[in-house]
Symmetry: C2
Subunit: 579 residues, 2 copies
């Protein structure tokens, strides 16, 4: 595919196409978090020695190879648009490689994640496809020098890790299973090897480092002494320390090539799909709320503002207004999946300025608990199904970020407490400092976490609903409980003691709504508020309620990741807009 | 559901709960676009007479009703949270109403779209659910006054159209099919009727007007004489003129209640679902690119900029950079569905400042036509499937916005022309003014449309591909054809002569890319560009290509709507950010 004019390296017969990469890319598996420093140093020394030996072997190969004519010169080198493989070659991918391929000549396009010489006549490579599928390849020079010569072996053994290559090979069964590769029952005996796109001599972050748990999620530049450590991460070997989130994002390509990040991305995509398919099967229609809005919702705090031709625009903090228009506009049930924005200067592992909202809104027939049960239902469905669909991916993530199983209630034993019941539990069974929490004030994050721990112990679940939040803790649009005006028909849903969904019944009567707005000290004629109330004046709107789920948090807390940033494709924080 | 304290109207026994609505909301069916003015006037007169008769009937009912005690007073009025229906009532929805319900007492929660008195003892109402499902309801006073009294009949007959009501009724078969309702084989004999949420006495736009084709898509305020016409639209009757887009958006609730808008929304949601399911079944992974980015892509023209803490952020014009990172990061095939932004001051029916992009990117194995065929494949799948899945919705839209069938190529006869072949067709078979079009310059919109007409006539298709665009017409990242450097491996896909998808193979070699950037007169070190090139320096990236489809345009051009704004949920234009 690559253009001949674009070749960065001269043809292989003249000089080695790629500089020897000094053993970079040895994937060190996943070592324990607390590997002692001394141990690491020892390993580093051993590694140094190993590399020196490899270099010696390569040098030996080089000197003898130079003497012979290269009979394999058409079987390796930089790929050009004229590069040809054998006509009968079978294209394979590693996921579906099977017995029927043994003995066959196949083509594989993959990343070379590791290459090493074994003496002067043989090199081993590891080839990888999406989803951590890897296989061992062997290149061995034969006495006739065709199809594989010593020069070819040397060249392949020196390909920079994370180059993309095209190989032609025979599939064989190895003498014993190859432990270092996901495909352990087959290996490839390489007869042709072309570099399609070369990696640099030194990677900004190795795959091994990318697969380690992230050490530090701060967006601040690390101090100078940490900077040194940061650079050393670019080295390799099993003892290397974990990289910081900064290093990961500065090396986004390698970050994304790590098996753990691909597993998290797969889980995230599947969570989204489960949400969508469940709601669709329950009569919900997908719609798309706008991001650009003409008035700041909820008073303008934490809203991004931008110049928009002759006026100002704002970025939507929530699609709630639009979900409600859909209901007012004659839909029974709607959902949306899309970005929402918060201009909050919070630099914590729980916050981002842009995240994905899973929102829904529905007509209420008899009682707002219809909405609570729907939200609970869709989340339970997501949690139960993801465990089946992404079993391997979850196990992989856990191997890097160990976590306790996410406990789910047995069907019929879902935990639904009122806010007051939650506060009572906190007072009676929580830590000393929460002995006096009030039923009328919202909970703090530490209170929520403490309650989560009590509920886990008491009810054996990490997922539960808190209902009937106090009036003072909810915005003007929250419908009061007609039988007890101190509380609202509003609820939060929690995972591991952390809120992942907030919602409630909305006031659907414009007179009641305007009165509530005044009670809250807001001017009903102010921008954003007026347009909101007017919706209910345009025509009769049925009772309705809904909720918004933060997808990033659902993924992060389900897996118990150390930061929600890890669950995002491109985390956005007050300090980070790139890549 | 409604709160008792929030009742806007006093209990029915004391005064009529809702002021008589003077026949507002008579749904006039869908009349032909070219109804003559004279005809319209005549109809208006007839309508006036009819309403006068109705008012007289209502007045008669009122005077006689006032004399009798109201034995049905608990069977109607404003719904409160204490309102009760009979315990054995069966909840129904109109879509699934069937023979098994005949003779049963049922509950329906619906919009009352029309109410009219028939003498003093009987009223007819039309009740509607989502998706234009409507049924006729009859309220007839019986001699005993229970369950239905004359007062109740009068009250029901005066409910404001577009109020949301709860009725208890017996399902019966009408003497002859009710032509004005989608459910024509059943009618409801109402025994209880409560207003759950009242509509105003005068609607900003009637349902009948909302269901007419939109007259004018300008975002400018109409001149004063048009303003008068705009107001008259709020009237009713089959002869009323169509409303402007401004009126529709100012009355978003009624706009969305129209059958035609709900049908368009259903088609849009299904198009999106078809795109997603096709790509998922072809091994594509969904990901989410950010909207907030740190550098303006493609030089900063037409990009929204906003203050972002201590720096500036931009709104993404396309997810292309991020799609390519996903491929560089080890994914074979990715897609995304989400908002993209253009700060272009274009006030045309083809443009919006925010729209939904259906994007995809994939690794290329042998040839970039793999990507062309995938894009063609997913669109053909969408077009073929939508015709089956949304047959009723498409017919409904066509009844308001008549359009010629969207012609598809027979399988195996897809039309794929090179740009040069397209230009040749234009020169040889196009209108006079295009006799000299060049193979090296991009096409104008009129040229595209003329070519679309030629291709429709010649090949009997409204959907086709133009490939191999000239180098000068494509951005710096477009891969040149290695066998002919004057053209690129880039393509557009067209519907009815209008571009709906643009894409191509991208340069994946950083050296080649940087050289191309310089050739285009861009500084490779400039913000946004540097980050882009660096991606290909981080590690070897396989050949890849993709494309971006505009969902709004696909829906609008498939249905041949007069404006893309009609296909959007909340169209955003330089002058319009609300609602």
């Amino acid at each position: 595919m690559a253009d001949p004019a674009a070749n960065a390296t001269p043809p292989p017969a003249e000089t080695p196409a790629a500089a020897p990469a000094a053993g970079v890319g040895e994937e060190g598996g996943i070592s324990k978090k607390a590997a002692k420093k001394a141990e690491a140093k020892a390993k580093k020394e051993a590694e140094k020695a190993r590399r020196a030996a490899e270099r010696a072997a390569a040098a030996a190969a080089s000197s003898s190879a130079a003497q012979a004519e290269d009979l394999a010169k058409d079987n390796y080198g930089q790929e050009t648009h004229e590069t040809k493989l054998s006509p009968d070659v079978i294209e394979i991918n590693l996921k579906t490689l099977g017995e029927e391929h043994v003995g066959k000549t196949v083509e594989l396009r993959a990343w070379l994640q590791n290459a090493r010489m074994q003496g002067a006549k043989m090199a081993f490579v590891e080839l990888r496809e999406e989803g951590n599928w890897s296989i061992q390849g062997v290149v061995a020079a034969n006495p006739e020098g065709t199809p594989v010569s010593r020069q070819m072996v040397k060249w392949v053994g020196a390909i920079n890790p994370e180059s993309f290559v095209v190989v032609e090979a025979k599939v064989q069964k190895p003498l014993e299973p190859v432990k270092s590769c996901r495909v352990s029952n087959y290996e490839l005996h390489i007869t042709k090897c072309f570099v399609h796109a070369a990696a640099p001599n030194v990677l900004g972050m190795t795959l091994a480092a990318a697969n380690r748990p992230i050490a530090n999620f701060s967006d601040e530049e690390p101090p100078v002494e940490q900077e040194v450590e940061k650079l050393s991460i670019a080295g390799e070997g099993p003892g290397i320390p974990a990289a910081t989130m900064l290093t990961h994002l500065d090396n986004i390509v390698m970050h994304k090539r790590s098996a753990v990040q691909q597993a998290i991305a797969d889980i995230r995509a599947e969570m989204k799909e489960l949400y969508r398919s469940y709601l669709r099967s329950h009569g919900f229609k997908e719609f798309e709320p706008p991001c650009l809005i003409g008035a700041a919702s909820e008073g303008g705090a934490n809203v991004f503002r931008l110049p928009y031709f002759e006026k100002d625009a704002y970025l939507a903090q929530s699609p709630q207004f639009y979900k409600q228009i859909e209901i007012a506009g004659g839909r029974k049930r709607v959902f949306s999946i899309g970005p929402v924005f918060r201009a909050e200067n919070s630099n914590t592992p729980r916050h981002m300025t842009e995240f994905t909202g899973l929102d829904m809104e529905m007509e209420i027939k008899k009682d707002y608990h219809e909405v609570v049960y729907m939200l609970e239902g869709v989340l339970l469905y997501m949690f139960r199904e993801i465990k089946e669909r992404c079993r391997d991916e979850i196990a992989l993530v856990r191997s890097v970020y160990p976590a306790e199983e996410f406990l789910l209630p047995e069907p019929g034993k879902e935990v639904r407490l009122t806010f007051a019941e939650g506060q009572k539990l906190l007072r009676e069974e929580g830590p000393e400092e929460f002995r006096n929490v009030s039923d009328d004030e919202d909970m703090s994050t530490p209170q929520e976490k403490a309650l989560g721990a009590i509920i886990r112990k008491k009810y054996n679940t990490d997922f539960y609903v808190l209902d009937k939040f106090p009036e003072g803790a909810r915005p003007f649009y929250a419908k009061e409980d007609p039988t007890n005006r101190k509380v609202t028909n509003a609820y939060d849903l929690f995972m591991r003691g952390q809120e992942i969904c907030s919602g409630g019944q909305r006031i659907n009567d414009p007179v009641e709504l305007e009165a509530r707005i005044r009670t809250k000290g807001i001017d009903p004629a102010s921008p954003g508020i007026k347009e909101y109330v007017d919706i209910f004046r345009q025509a009769g709107v049925p009772a309705h309620g809904g909720g918004g789920i933060g997808l990033d948090r659902v993924v992060a807390w389900y897996l118990n990741l150390p930061s929600v940033h890890l669950a995002a494709f491109y985390p956005r924080t007050p300090k980070r807009l790139l890549p």
